[in-house]
Amino acid sequence: MFRVVAIVAGLGLAFAAAAEAQTPRKGGTIRMTAPYGSSFTSLDIHTTQRAQDEIYAKALHRSLYTWNSAEGKPVLELAREDVVSGGGLVHTFKLRDDAYFHNGRKMTADDVIWSYNRIMDGTKAYPGARYVRVIEGAAAVEKGQAKDISGLKKIDDFTIEMKLTEKVDPGFYFFTALTSIYPADEAAKEGFIQSPIGLGPFKFVEHVPGSRIVLERWDRFYKPGKPYADKVTVSIMGEAAARDVAFRNKEIDTSVLGPAQYVAYQSDADLKGTIVEVAEVFTRYMGMNTSFKPFADKRVRQAINYAIDTDLIINKLVKGKAYRATSWLPLTSPLYDKTMKPYAYDPAKAKQLLAEAGYPNGFEFEWTTSQNESWGLPIVTAVIPMLDKVGIKAKVKQVETAVLAEVVRSGDYQAFIYSQQTGPDPQAALKCFHSSTPQSACNYMNFKNADFDKLMDEAGQADDVAKRGQLLQKANALLYDEAPVWFFNYNKAVMAVQPWLHGVQLNATELTHQNVEDLWVDETSPAK
């Protein structure tokens, strides 16, 4: 009997200990890292689309929606309710009445309207304009034809009406920090950029340019009991090797891993358990310019896909830090089609297709690339001999990443290799290939296909979500068959997280973007 009691008691204690271990602890400092460069672009998050800047912005600011990693979709953040009317085009948002800016003032509808109008200032080219443009009348403000967005109406202090130009889920458009809500009165002042004020769980303390941002808990944050930590520091650490030393030395809590470190951490018994990974919504590919004669033929584009041993490149060069692309929509897209199979490595089939297209001896093209280790020159260098085997010669043209962005938008290339955001909104990701989408927007291959357009148009009109999903999946399959790109891989984002940091979310839109209010550190943290 005693033995049974002892076992039960032991189990009870074990469960209690486990429960305690999972109970978020208040206090401590979360020490995050910003790995994508040697500085933050700006403390005005409206001006910058770099993933680097959104890392701190997730702590400082809030948008109308936020990304829920567990559910894999955007959810309301600054509004409690969204009532849809007007055939799916009108959204009436009931805003939170308990959201306070860091200067103590309550957020109202005026702040939301002011922020969206600001983002549409065409002379500033705010990157968030591409999202706000979905509101009726926003484009007119951007072009200087109107002062205010006509599709935004204040009903009362905590209610706004938003009329959209198309039937889309506004959550996908208003969840990033690019559309953060600013305090209308304060943000217009000159000093705002130096000492920004937001609605996020942490308030600004200091920015040491090129080194770190420090934020501390905002006690009037609207989520009860959150945030857990007292302080957040975001250290700028662009060098992977330096991050590695700092992580091993327990000076930082998170570190993004590149392919080489991914392998090293996996083979280290002490570090293996720190790895978290997620398929991010980015597709890596080689884009082909259809105005270049050989690439105008679908069979040539398919031949390229058959000619490359993609799995070999992913395993050997990318060190397994990627998932094989089986279509345009990535693994974590809600409409990812598991039944689709990637193009097989089949040089014979590639040769046959080339011969059928009138290129039995192949052809030559220029391949524009950056130096990126995961989707740049090293990959191109590995692919060239594979293409050579089927008679296709590729000449490399190397440019800076910033220049590559301009090259793909202007169409000044024969082929290029790139990484493009293909989510989280599958409709927006596929719409890039609609013939009405300008090349300068995201139709970089200048793709035009009447059947594809028809499917997308029908999806855009569909009220039934399931039907819309089916149409979009068909469009995705059609795109795969048309092969305007070599479907290379979907990024596998990998981050090392110290064992004392809890609540890390597997954010498929960008792993480093964490809802910081959900993170907490236990007592084993050196920065407790």
């Binding site: 460069g37 040697s38 500085s39 672009t41 700006s42 403390l43 005005d44 001006t47 910058t48 689309q49 065409g122 002379t123 500033k124 080219a125 705010y126 990157p127 304009a129 591409r130 484009a139 951007e142 072009k143 200087g144 950029i193 130096q194 040491v208 340019p209 090129g210 080194s211 770190r212 250290s235 700028i236 650490m237 662009g238 060098e239 090797a241 330096a242 030393v245 700092a246 091993r248 030395n249 000076e251 440019v399 800076e400 990443t401 910033a402 220049v403 962005a405 301009e406 090259v407 938008r409 300068s440 927007a441 995201c442």
Partner: protein
């Protein structure tokens, strides 16, 4: 002396103008623009309006003229990226860079000059060989690799120092980046000092001093050291300028908030005013250090006149 200073200051004006012009011309011919780095999908109309607002729709010569006019009034313009005044951006980063450079140079001088002296006083000895092996190694080591090595040893293995960051700007954060940056000038100073001392030791005036019965300590102190200082100072001056350009790697590696990392980021994002401002500061620093060295020549060796 005063006329010398004024003349030298006036000489810096064409140098500065040439640098500004060069940066302008370079950035007007290299591909890529700030507009494309700011947004993925700008409407061509919006791009045009933005270019108008930034003045990028003007011909290069007009932009150059406007910039020089602003420069004359002490205005470096506003950053395209952050919309902050460039002077503010540079001011925030100038002190950490100066801290790093002066600490590196202090390390280089305090270690390199004595090492060179000792080696020269005992040529061919074990001390000489070890000193020169260290000096050659110091010159050959890549800063990035050396920095990582120091991080690994002093932060990870020994736990004596933080591996990165600016912290409160205190000494413990400064040591590793300063040593990483200072090893190369230290090695150069050691070699230069050794060569200078060896040459002076065989000079006629040293032989004369010895033949007069002057002790070896006095010979070294009054004749050798003083004469060697001219060459050491010249090397120091050149190294100061070089260090300003080399901080980029060290700042990035150690997350040190200096002008080097500002310059690199600004170049990558085609933030022309920030690039011009940063380069201008580097050039002015280089010119100022050289001017100071010229003045010091006269203090060390009164025979040098400012003719």
């Amino acid at each position: 002396m005063l006329s010398f200073l004024i003349r030298r200051l006036l000489q810096t004006v064409p140098t500065v103008l040439a640098v500004v012009l060069l940066v302008f011309v370079l950035f007007s011919v290299v591909p890529g623009s700030i507009v494309s780095t700011m947004s993925d999908d700008s409407d061509p109309q919006v791009e045009l309006r933005m270019k108008q607002q930034l003045g990028l729709d003007q011909p290069v010569y007009m932009r150059f003229g406007a910039y020089v006019a602003r420069l004359a009034a002490g205005d470096l313009g506003a950053s395209f990226r952050t919309r902050e005044p460039v002077t503010t951006m540079i001011a925030k980063r100038a002190w950490p860079t100066l801290q790093l450079i002066f600490a590196s140079m202090a390390f280089a001088v305090l270690l390199g000059v004595p090492l060179g002296f000792i080696a020269a006083l005992r040529p061919g000895s074990l001390v000489d060989t070890v000193s020169m092996v260290l000096a050659v190694s110091g010159l050959s080591l890549a800063k990035f690799w050396l920095g990582l090595l120091l991080m690994y040893l002093f932060a990870l293995k020994l736990g004596w120092l933080p591996s990165f960051g600016y912290g409160d700007g205190g000494l413990k954060y400064l040591i590793l980046p300063a040593v990483t940056l200072g090893v190369s000038p230290m090695a150069l100073l050691a070699r230069t000092t050794r060569a200078a001392v060896l040459e002076i030791m065989t000079a006629d005036f040293v032989r004369t001093a010895r033949s007069k019965g002057m002790s070896e300590t006095r010979v070294v102190k009054w004749h050798v050291m003083r004469n060697a200082l001219v060459l050491i100072l010249t090397t120091m001056g050149l190294q100061f300028g070089a260090l300003m350009g080399q901080t980029v790697v060290v700042e990035k590696l150690f997350s040190w908030p200096g002008i080097g990392s500002l310059l690199v980021d600004s170049v990558l994002q085609r933030d022309i005013p920030a690039v011009q401002g940063s380069i201008l500061v580097v050039v002015l620093f280089f010119l100022a250090i050289n001017l100071l060295i010229d003045v010091l020549y006269g203090v060390i060796d009164p025979r040098i006149r400012y003719a």
